[in-house]
Symmetry: C2
């Protein structure tokens, strides 16, 4: 089995487990009011790659957690995906990026209306914290550890994390179109939750301070790399719509690495960050193999 086959199999089996769990944790439209649950599940099952919850579970693997412990951690993995989904719904709103499509499907507000899209996002965020506070988790993990997980995640997606990044992204002025602002946006808007996903896996698997710090560094480098690859995919796509989107975003004042540094420098940056992510966890034994293969996979991904 090649590395590529190995990580593909890992991704597929974990994606399946996460989606099964999500479907159990998020009520369907047989509940009242049906529109709300429809909207929540519409975006939740709109073709996400589940990278964040998989990173959480891969970090647990790296610490030697068994399948039993990983299974018990599924509510945390799912809460992370629910928060990611809420952020996409709100980012797509007319008042923000005003996107009609997400992963080739109509965005939430196009299907359900702006009011329901806002509320479905609010609900996914709220239900994520509800899931994190349920008794299921304390059957396996210490209440204090769960509180640390909630603390970590809420910080990552709050005003000093994802929301801060989004505010700067929608509101940065012309004079701020520099590399520093771009780093700020990427580190906060994308990097913070990716890092929290990895670190949370470490917390649940009982990582010590040193390992947690290593996972945090891994997450920060990998997170930035992930976003630059995302930017590059928009430029390099053969499909004309990608290039069109880049042009539009650039004219809207959207910052991207390729538009700021050029494609060549951006590709070089990806290689550097990949190496730094791997270096951060070099003292980990072979159980960190999924984390290692994941960086490689995310550096060369095509979607």
């Amino acid at each position: 089995m090649t590395d590529r086959e190995e990580i593909s199999a890992y991704l597929a089996s974990h994606k399946r487990a996460i989606e099964e769990a999500l479907s159990r944790f998020v009520p369907d439209e047989s509940h009242y009011p049906p529109t709300l649950f429809q909207a929540m599940r519409y975006s939740l099952f709109a073709g996400g790659k589940r990278i964040r919850p998989i990173l959480c579970l891969a970090a647990m693997d790296a610490l030697g957690a068994g399948e039993q412990l990983k299974k018990a951690a599924l509510p945390v993995a799912c809460a992370i995906e629910m928060i990611h989904t809420y952020s996409l719904i709100h980012d797509d709103l007319p008042a923000m990026d005003n996107d009609d499509l997400r992963r080739g499907k109509p965005t939430s507000h196009r299907v359900f209306g702006e009011d329901i899209a806002i509320l479905a996002g609010d609900a996914l965020l709220t239900e994520a914290f509800h899931l994190l506070s349920k008794k299921e988790l304390t059957a396996t993990f210490a209440a204090q550890v769960i509180l640390e997980v909630i603390n970590e995640i809420s910080y990552a997606v709050g005003c000093f994390g994802m929301i801060g990044g989004q505010v700067v992204d929608v509101r940065h002025g012309e004079q701020e179109m520099d590399e520093g602002t771009l780093y700020y946006i990427h580190h906060h808007k994308t990097g913070a939750l990716l890092t929290a996903a990895v670190k949370t896996g470490g917390l649940l698997a009982g990582a010590d301070e040193e390992k947690l710090l290593a996972l945090e560094k891994y997450g920060a480098h990998m997170g930035l790399m992930f976003q630059i690859v995302d930017d590059l995919l928009d430029v390099e796509g053969d499909d004309g719509t990608f290039k069109k989107r880049l042009t539009e975003e650039t004219s809207l004042g959207k910052l991207t690495f390729p538009s700021l540094l050029g494609i060549e420098q951006s590709v070089k940056k990806v290689t550097e960050l990949k190496a730094q992510a791997l270096e951060a966890i070099e003292t980990f034994d072979d159980k960190a193999r999924p984390l290692r293969l994941l960086v490689e996979h995310l550096a060369t991904r095509e979607v």
Copy 2:
């Protein structure tokens, strides 16, 4: 000192303590990005009566908690107020109620734009859970109790609580304009968080199952009463703008008790609910005096 003077003094001193704590817990615009923190604090300090956090502390009083324990619970009281504030910001959005004014001041989206208003709401909700997971609380309360508090609050404001109520409120059809729908909306949109505030105070003060149930009943009756009084204030206000608002809301298909049952029946309902709220906590001793005076105050409030 009359009852009215007594509860006025209680409300004033607790409001002050809560606002001081809120100002400590929510960072100001010296932080980056300043617009976000400005928007969060603009709505947070826009003249709220702090009824929900005060109810939380009054429930602690009813259980005999001392000033020290109440002080330690301020992060919980503040988190509840932050969640209430987020819900107001999102309710006022153009896609929802499209309100230009709230408590006589321009609404968040009128001041900061729709994008920042949505994000400031998101941030207040997220930071509320962050506050609930901080180490300060576990210095005094058991981690398990804090998780129960998070569970209680997140349920109350999630899809089976406040957000469910808001979805029905913005989307109920003509055929649903009946008493059942009205109860559903009020119980969920307003009642759930008011009840959770009271119950959370009970949890923090170590209430047993029986007392918790009593507090929950008190909260449910008082919450519905609170909302009917709110509806009545809109009709009975001497100021013409109130009546205008009622007419507008009615023509927009907004349900209210006065428009459905008439003023006389609505006033009768308030009296009934007040009695039921008091009855729910009749086995409590005199330490429940603030909870008792609060019901009376809220039944006869003029704003």
